[in-house]
């Protein structure tokens, strides 16, 4: 459904605990407002905030801070992922923008050793003098699925 040279070249940049992260735009379905009534999900892991109803679908809200073992913060935006098995929403901070990876705004960094990236960051890029960690959304979703 998606053209690989259009959406896959763009990332959405957001903030988690003063750190910037980026996700491929092709893996993202929609950005939601934070103000939504939450439903409690029984026997769910600690990083599951709850569930919300959106366009007749139940969406599981994942606290990305808790999942990535980062300090807790207030959720400002929910990024709805485009996954085939279940609808997952990532609770993140402010959305800073959508950046075209092919444009001149992104520079590659030399800070890409295995020890720095962890499990979910593919690589680091520089955007507006700041380092953005590009998340591997697929691995993230499959790991979350693994808990259920």
């Amino acid at each position: 459904m998606l053209s690989p040279d259009s959406a896959s070249n763009k990332i959405i940049v957001f903030r988690i605990d003063e750190k910037l992260f980026g996700g491929e735009l092709s893996k993202i379905c929609e950005v939601l407002e934070k103000e939504m009534p939450l439903a409690w999900v029984p026997r769910a892991p600690a990083f599951v905030k709850g569930a919300v109803a959106h366009h007749g679908q139940a969406i599981l809200l994942i606290d990305l801070n808790a999942f990535l073992h980062l300090p807790a913060q207030e959720t400002e935006t929910v990024i709805l992922l485009d996954s085939p098995d279940r609808d997952i929403g990532l609770c993140v901070g402010k959305i800073l923008g959508i950046v075209d990876m092919t444009g001149g705004d992104i520079k590659e960094t030399d800070k890409n050793g295995d020890e720095d990236r962890g499990m979910y960051v593919d690589r680091f890029v520089q955007w507006k003098d700041r380092v953005v960690g590009l998340l591997n959304i697929e691995r993230l979703v499959s790991d979350i699925d693994g808990y259920f």
Binding site: L2, S6, A7, I12, S26, I98
Partner: protein, 455 residues
């Protein structure tokens, strides 16, 4: 040359203890008995010689008649003459010697001090100088009796008087002592009084100075009170003007406060609108974001829409930033207007307080005016009184000066009296010793006259 003795007789008869009066009255031959013819002794001698001569002649005549021889006749005559002469001479001399003996005995008795017994010679028809002598002796005795009795009486009186005088002198001495001590006390009192008068004088002088100062102060106070009155009047006027101005300012400030409050309301409204704008910008941003995502997902077809969405997102971003800036500005304005409102509220409160204080000042000034009026009246009275007081004090000073003078005179007089009393005491002691001497003398005199017996 001859004189009736009865003229002198009464002086003898009056003597006490003679008893001659009683005899004289009973005698019927009183007139004959009382007949006296004074013959002096010389004449008596002559008469007795004549009697002898006449007797011789008579004898010679008788013998011539009788016949006796002439030789016998002569012898007889001579013998008779001798006999007669002897007889007469003997009689005469006996009488005379008896009288003289009596006289000398009487003189001796008087010399011994016996004045009780009067001398009484035999009564004779022809008294002579012996009778005179007896009379004189009797007169002398009488005089001596009178003198002695008077001396006795007088010495007794002198003795009594000197005794009472001595007692009086002693009493006087005691009194003098008392007077002296009293005078001493008086002198002490006088000197103390003089000191007190001196102290009083200095006090009164100080008082006079104080009174003068008080008078000056009262005059100054009067001037000050008048000045205060003027100042208070001016102050009241100024306070009333201030009050009016404050009222205007208060109204203006209240108006400003109302405007500021309205301004604050408007600012709050603007803030609400800005908040709505911020929310709209946020939502627009989200919408633009989703549109961008959708456009990306649309691939090539969504490229144009993606550009539009990006622009919308930028606009929304700008709007959000502007709204944020406006919000910040509005918040600043709100803060400042709150401060202004607070300041105005404070000013209003201060003004209200000021108005109340000004009212209080006006009220106080009214009270001050009343007080100043009263004070002025009082000060006037004080001035008048202190003038009077000064006059009285001056008079008092004069009186005290006079008193001081009198006191000094008194002290001096007391000293003089003391000296006089001392002199008097000396005189009294002299008198006392003189009285003692006199008593002694009167006693001696009494002893001397006690020798004389009057009874």
């Amino acid at each position: 040359m001859t004189k009736a003795v009865n003229e002198k007789a009464p002086s003898l008869k009056t003597l006490p203890g003679t008893g001659e009066e009683g005899k004289g009255r009973a005698d019927p031959l009183r007139a004959l008995r009382q007949f006296r013819l004074r013959v002096e002794l010389g004449y008596k001698f002559i008469l007795s010689f004549l009697v002898v001569v006449i007797g011789v002649l008579v004898i010679a005549w008788i013998l011539s008649r009788i016949n006796i021889p002439p030789e016998w006749e002569e012898i007889a005559t001579v013998l008779s003459a001798i006999a007669m002469g002897l007889a007469i001479g003997r009689t005469f001399s006996r009488i005379l010697s008896r009288d003289f003996h009596e006289l000398s005995r009487s003189a001796e008795v008087i010399a011994e001090g016996d004045l009780a017994h009067p001398l009484s010679l035999e009564e004779r028809i022809f008294p002579d100088e012996t009778a005179d002598l007896a009379e004189s002796i009797n007169a002398m005795r009488h005089s001596l009796r009178v003198l002695v009795s008077r001396i006795r009486e007088t010495s007794h009186n002198v003795f009594e008087s000197s005794r009472s005088l001595f007692t009086s002198a002693q009493g006087l001495n005691a009194s003098n002592g008392e007077i002296a001590s009293t005078m001493e006390q008086i002198a002490k009192g006088a000197s103390l009084q003089a000191e007190r008068v001196e102290e009083t004088f200095s006090l009164i002088k100080r008082m006079a100075i104080s009174t003068e100062q008080a008078e000056k102060s009262a005059a100054e106070a009067h001037t000050s009170a008048a000045a205060a009155n003027g100042a208070a009047l001016k102050g009241e006027e100024i306070a009333r003007t201030t009050m009016g101005k404050m009222h205007i300012v208060f109204e203006k400030v209240e108006g400003a406060h109302t405007k500021v409050l309205k301004f604050s309301e408007r600012v709050a409204q603007v803030k609400k609108i800005i908040e709505i704008m911020a929310v709209i910008a946020e939502k627009t941003d989200l919408l633009a974001l989703n549109a961008t995502i959708e456009a990306a997902r649309a691939g090539e077809y969504g490229r144009g829409f993606s550009v539009v969405a990006e622009e919308v997102r930028k606009l929304a971003d700008t709007s959000a930033r502007s709204a944020e800036q406006i919000r910040e500005i509005i918040e600043t304005i709100e803060l400042e207007s709150k401060e202004v409102s607070g300041t105005i509220s404070e000013s209003t409160q201060e003004l209200r307080k000021g108005r109340e204080e000004t009212n209080a000042i006006i009220h106080s000034l009214g009270s001050i005016l009343a007080s100043v009026g009263e004070t002025t009246q009082r000060v006037e009275r004080i001035t008048a009184l202190s003038g009077e007081h000064a006059m009285h004090v001056e008079e008092t000073v004069k009186s005290i000066e006079e008193i001081a003078r009198v006191t000094q005179d008194n002290a001096a007089a007391t000293k003089q009296v003391s000296a006089a009393v001392q002199k008097q005491a000396a005189s009294v002691s002299e008198m006392s010793s003189a009285v003692q001497v006199m008593t002694k003398m009167s006693e001696d005199l009494r002893d001397v006259v006690a020798r004389f017996r009057l009874e």
